[in-house]
Structures are given as C-alpha cells and as structure tokens.
Symmetry: C2
Subunit: 222 residues, 2 copies
C-alpha cells in the first residue's frame, strides 16, 4: 500500500491534532511534524492552517458555474437544482473528512463563520444565474430569483446537515425530493394567487369539461 | 449643540479613516486620535477595530428572539415575517452609517464574510422557531421550516440590499410586499399539490356550499 499524497497526509494530521489539542492550540509546525513533511510542502498545498479544514470551494464553485453555463434544463430553477447536487456529492465523496470538519466548525465560531460565508457564495451564484435567465423574460423579478436561490440552497443545506449528522442514509435521493418540493413551491405559485377553487353547475359531462379546465389552469392539452 | 456620545464619535472617526486610508491600513490608535478619545474609551465600547463596523447584532438578535417569544401571530411564518422587520428597521434607523458599512463590506472580503455570518444567525433563529412551532403539529416538517426561514431571510435581504443601494425609497412598504409573497408561496402550497380545482354538479345553491368549500380548503368558517 502506497502512502497517501502529501495533501491528504497534511489534512489527516491537522484534523487529528485539532481533535487532540484543539484548533487554536495547533500550529502549522505541529501539523507538518505529525505528517512527516516540511513547511514548504505545507504552503505548496495550503495558504494557512484554516485552509486545511475547508474543501476547495473555489474549484467547486467554478465547477458549479460551469454546470450552469452548459445546462440544457428548461427552467433556471431546474438548472440550479441540478447544479447544487454537485456540492452535495462533493461532501459525500469526502466522507468522514466532511463529518470531522462539521464537528470542528460547530465548535469554533470563526470556522463556522467561514463555512457559512462559503455556502453563501453558491447561493449568490444561483441568484445571479436565475436573475440573468429572467432578464430575458417579459417581467424580470429579482425578488423571485432571490427566493428561488435561497430555497435551493436551504434544501441542499438541510439534506447536507442531516447527512453530516448521520440522519440521512440516502442523501442523493433525499436532496432530489427536497429540490422537487422547491420546484413545486414555485411552480404552483406561478400566478401569484394561491389556491384556486372553481365551483360551477352544468349539464355537461365532466369528461367533456376536462379540456376547458386544463386551459383554465394554464396547462397544455392532454 | 452638544458633542455626540463617544461610541458614535469613534464610529464616525473609524469610517472616515477607512474611507481615506483603507480598512487594513487603519489602526485603533488612528481611530482614537481622530476621535480625540483614549484607547481605554475605545475598548469600553468595542472589542476590536472590526467591531466598530458592525451593528450590535447580539442585542438585535435578542430583540428579535424576544419578539418571537411574545408573538401573538396565528402562524409561525407570520410571526417570523413580523420579527424580521425589526432587523430592517434597525438598518434604516442607522441611515448613512449602514450605507457606508455596505460600501466597506463590499470591498473587504473578511468583513463581508462576517456580515454574512451575522445575517445567517437570524435565519437560524427563524428556522429553530418555526421548527419548534411545528413540533406540536401532526406532521412536523423540518425541511419546510428551513425553506420558510430561508425565504423570510431572503426577502429581507433583497429589500435591505435595494435600500442600501438607494434603489428602494420605501423599504418598509416593500418588505411587507415581499413577505406577503413569501406567505402566499407557502400558503398556496399547504397540501403540497399546487393549485386545486374542484369541479362538481349539484342542485344546491352556491351560498349553501360555501361552508363546505371553506372546510375543504382548510380555512376557518366565516
């Protein structure tokens, strides 16, 4: 069995030391000593002690942006719902590392703030994507874009948090369900008027009325 | 005219220096010198240079929590929508100071991250409030609580950002409209099935049917 690459060895050493001594009490020198590597190697992979903890959000954000650019989904909300899965799958692929980071960021406020700020960048990317998609529409609606982006991010965060806590055995399926709920939330609301109840009396057979009802509801003919 | 209190004088001096020299290049000593006050006075009011920039989120968060605790609104979503107005009104009361902070946090990533993390605390408070309200319901739905909290925070942030940019002349009215949209979004979707159309044939008078229709729609009797 070959040794894991330097990047992983440093992360492994850092997390072990953070658990043993606490985050604040651990230095970069402690980490390199534990990993059996030099400071130069450390700074080739990470800018700081804090950097060791976080996944490569810059690269992941770029992948999500690329996914949006090349999306063939019919709506902005569907495209964003598809793209956010990349973020969830990234954490799942990290496995135990992601869970140790979660435990650590829950304990150290400065790290939790940085994690929150990282997640906010995805939400911003989604908001700008949806808003620019809508810019071509008859009535661009920046508030709606903001609400959609927030809902997609919240659905993702909900499932991610459950998975990190060991409460979600099937996060990929669960996030699809959660995103499905988000899409229904905004689709049902397309006219902004809420639930519509139509009551009428007629001598016509109900089957004959279905096409008219579909038209009323703004659906395509069957 | 009497001098403004020390706290405001320090903030005023700090913002003036951040504008002139840049945030990183300004020290606490620069700030106290400009304000004509001592270091002891500075540290009586603020823990650090960074603290001068931000409003008192701890106190504001406590006010919002208190508002939720004493709320008499009929739904969790209405209670949270009411409470988030406190945050918006706080920024509006700050006036020019809030706008200068916005300009500064837009330029300095570390400050922007801290501002984002502060805002995330309100969203978390809302999520926990809605989830605990729902805990008594027949079917608690933590995902729905998370989506509601995210939508309320997003509606607030949308209007706040517009006001900070000078794009919203009536932010208090605008936030009410935005929160109204959020409430409609979730109300229309109460059954998770979107728009409901009920078609039926009957010999009964329509007025006699209204109570039954209300019951079907899950509304209280008129």
């Amino acid at each position: 069995m070959s040794k894991p690459p330097a990047r992983e060895r440093l992360a492994e050493a850092a997390f072990a030391l953070f658990d043993e001594r606490g985050y604040e009490q651990t230095t970069v020198d402690d980490i390199t000593e534990r990993a059996g590597l030099g400071r130069t190697t450390f700074f080739r992979h990470y800018r700081s002690k804090e950097d060791v903890i976080f996944p490569d959000h810059d690269r992941l954000l770029e992948q999500v942006a690329e996914r949006l650019r090349t999306s063939s989904h019919a709506t902005a909300l569907a495209a964003v719902s598809d793209a956010v899965r990349l973020v969830l799958l990234h954490y799942i692929a990290e496995g135990d590392l992601a869970r140790r980071r979660y435990a650590l960021t829950s304990r150290v406020p400065a790290l939790r703030d940085r994690e929150i700020a990282s997640v906010a960048r995805y939400q911003r990317l989604f908001r700008e994507f949806i808003a620019s998609w809508m810019a071509g529409a008859a009535e661009p609606d920046p508030l709606r874009a903001e609400l959609m982006a927030a809902a997609v991010a919240a659905a993702h965060n909900h499932v991610l948090r459950r998975w990190l806590r060991g409460e979600s055995p099937e996060p990929a399926r669960e996030v699809d369900e959660a995103l499905g709920l988000v899409i229904r939330l905004f689709t049902a609301q397309a006219d902004g008027n809420g639930t519509t109840i139509v009551a009428f009396r007629t001598g016509q057979d109900i089957d004959a009325l279905i096409p008219a009802l579909r038209q009323l509801a703004g659906e395509p003919p069957a």
